[in-house]
């Protein structure tokens, strides 16, 4: 129960500040531009597909949304001292970590789900731009969800080891940039060195491509889930370490 109360409070606090609104509006706007206009956009592809959404959404999520949403999670509470108030309530440290995580993930998922307006508006109502294959759409959203879970956990972990939101933002950004962009690009170079599979496997993007094709690969699911669990465990340890410092 504690976990839920903390998550609830956290999620609510995003909406009492302008943060949630700003992030949601900006991402929608950016995604719209990328989807419809950038490089000829959706129309150029000339197929009833959301490929492009699943291609660009990871960038928006990992390079903007997740770092902004997670930077304050624990860093802010540490610097303002509210952490002391929270932790000296009868809660376990893991409940604090999990609650905060779920609160942030909630907002990220709200954002992800708000893009459902794309397929609905284009293929169901009011426009019917063609018969879309719903399999890849559902798989794609599952992929985005799993990726958000992993990214948010990484953000939380980084927020739990610093007091500064700015540092938390940039380190999270850099980490996710590496996972989404660098490793994707690096895969091609690494292939020459014979470690291409490893590097590609570590990249978020390679897993997302599978999901966008409608392929739910167990390896990808396990990949995202293990990042999530691992990061949460370290975040928990980082929070606990205040006791022994």
């Amino acid at each position: 129960m504690h976990t839920l109360y903390i998550a609830q409070r956290e999620l609510k606090s995003y909406f009492t500040s302008p943060l949630a609104y700003v992030v949601i509006c900006l991402t929608q706007l950016l995604l719209g531009v990328l989807f419809f206009l950038y490089r000829g956009g959706f129309w150029q592809v000339d197929r009833a597909t959301l490929d492009r959404l699943f291609e660009y959404a990871p960038y928006g999520l990992c390079l903007l949304v997740i770092p902004v949403i997670t930077m304050r999670l624990i860093a802010e509470e540490k610097s303002t001292g509210t952490l002391e108030m929270l932790i000296t309530l009868p809660v376990n440290d893991w409940e604090v970590v999990l609650g905060k995580y779920l609160g942030a993930l909630g907002l990220v998922l709200i954002l992800v789900l708000s893009t459902v307006v794309y397929p609905v508006a284009m293929f169901i109502w009011p426009w019917k731009l063609g018969a879309i294959d719903w399999g890849p759409v559902k798989a794609g959203y599952l992929g985005l969800g799993l990726m958000s879970a992993a990214g948010t956990a990484i953000g939380l972990l980084i927020s739990s080891v610093t007091r500064s939101q700015v540092i938390a933002f940039f380190v999270t950004f850099a980490t996710l940039f590496t996972l989404v962009v660098l490793l994707g690009v690096g895969g091609e170079f690494a292939a020459k060195a014979g470690v291409g599979t490893v590097v590609t496997f570590l990249s978020f993007q390679s897993h997302m491509t599978n999901f966008a094709r409608g392929l739910i690969d167990t390896r990808s699911v396990v990949y995202f889930l293990s990042i999530t669990v691992f990061s949460l465990m370290i975040a928990f340890r980082a929070l606990e370490s205040r006791k022994w410092k």
Partner: protein
């Protein structure tokens, strides 16, 4: 350990890097006691309180609150106490009501109990006007009240308050102290403050820490007697005398200093019709007779003469002064004659700070 011991700190030490914040701190607080926890800034008050509330763990030693061990049972410890950290850090984006409701939920109160408690809390903490306001817009004093409110929400048997009056105005302070006296009748309160007057009003007992060590622990009267001194206040008429001329300040001072048994003479402020002095003398002697005789001999008019226990403030200064001087980078060379009063507490604890890893 008898059952009415509510807080039991046992040889607590805490080391931050190379800095020893606490050094073998032991004390007990019994049920119904209101204990003032005093010490200069950086003496280890907040560190002790954080250990007692299981926010941090001691490097060595242990503590029990309400019979629960801070290592083994941190949740039970926290359930049995209400804690107000220094400066009352509270989420600024919530309203007062929302925040208190959040705390109540986290403490497992159902909503009808919460509403019932809130009536009392609103009255006690004076929150009626601000329940719907965002905490971020409140003044420090009000935030402190909200912080106190959240510590009281579940009606805990033990309260740990870290400088609860620091941001309050004098009226609020007086109100809070009155309240602490009131609830202290059936509750255990550990209260840290810099304001010694508050301790004298609200507490029967005080613990003084300095540089991470307990330098005094006992009933206020015992602590006041700790320096082995009493205090005399002498006020002499400055304008008139029964014979000879009216006394000058230096003359009075010289006379006082000559009297046997007077240890220290200090002028105290008075109006322009009198000279006022504060003297220190031995605990078991009484100099009033001799003082009176000396003034009669001179023909000076004694307006006031009284013998008190030493003020808590003086004891506090005396007990913590040496450490304070070190902090300011001055060697403790002068005034070495005064006792430090921490004997017996810390003779055999030189090197036992090895991090005892008792993971909780």
């Amino acid at each position: 350990m008898s059952t009415d011991v509510m807080i039991h700190a046992d040889r607590l030490s805490k080391v931050f890097g190379s800095y020893r914040a606490l050094d073998n701190v032991s004390f007990e607080v019994k049920q119904g006691e209101v204990v003032g926890f005093l010490g200069p800034n950086g003496a280890g008050k907040s560190t002790t309180m954080r250990i007692l509330t299981c926010f941090i763990s001691p490097s060595s030693g242990g503590a029990k609150v309400h019979g629960h061990d801070v290592f083994d049972d941190p949740l039970e410890v926290r359930r049995s106490l209400g804690y107000l950290p220094q400066r009352a850090p509270i989420y600024p984006d919530m309203t007062v009501w929302e925040y208190l409701e959040f705390v109540a939920k986290m403490r497992g109160l159902d909503s009808s109990t919460f509403r019932k408690r809130m009536k009392k809390i609103v009255e006690v903490c004076g929150l009626a006007q601000s329940l719907g306001k965002d905490i971020g817009t409140l003044s420090h004093g009000y935030r402190q009240r909200v912080g106190l409110g959240q510590a009281l929400v579940h009606d805990p048997p033990i309260l740990i308050l870290d400088e609860p009056t620091s941001d309050l105005d004098p009226n609020e302070k007086a109100e809070l102290i009155r309240y602490i006296q009131d609830i202290g009748k059936d509750r255990t309160i550990l209260l840290s403050t810099h304001n010694l007057n508050e301790v004298e009003q609200a507490c029967a007992r005080a613990i003084i820490v300095s540089k991470g060590r307990v330098v005094a622990d006992g009933a206020l009267d015992d602590i006041r007697a700790k320096t082995g001194r009493v205090r005399y206040v002498v006020i002499v008429d400055e304008k008139n005398a029964l014979k000879g001329s009216a006394p000058k300040e230096e003359e009075v001072r010289a006379l006082l200093a000559k009297i046997k048994g007077v240890v220290k003479v200090k002028e105290i402020p008075t109006d322009d019709r009198a000279h006022g002095f504060e003297l220190a003398g031995e605990q078991d002697g009484d100099l009033r007779g001799e003082l009176f005789r000396a003034f009669v001999d001179k023909g000076w008019i004694l307006l006031e003469l009284r013998r008190d226990a030493q003020k808590l403030e003086d004891v506090f200064h005396e007990l913590t002064r040496k450490d304070e001087r070190l902090t300011r980078g001055k060697a403790a060379e002068e005034e070495e004659d005064e006792d430090e009063g921490d004997e017996g507490e810390d003779e055999d604890n030189e090197n036992d700070s090895g991090d005892r890893d008792r993971k909780g």
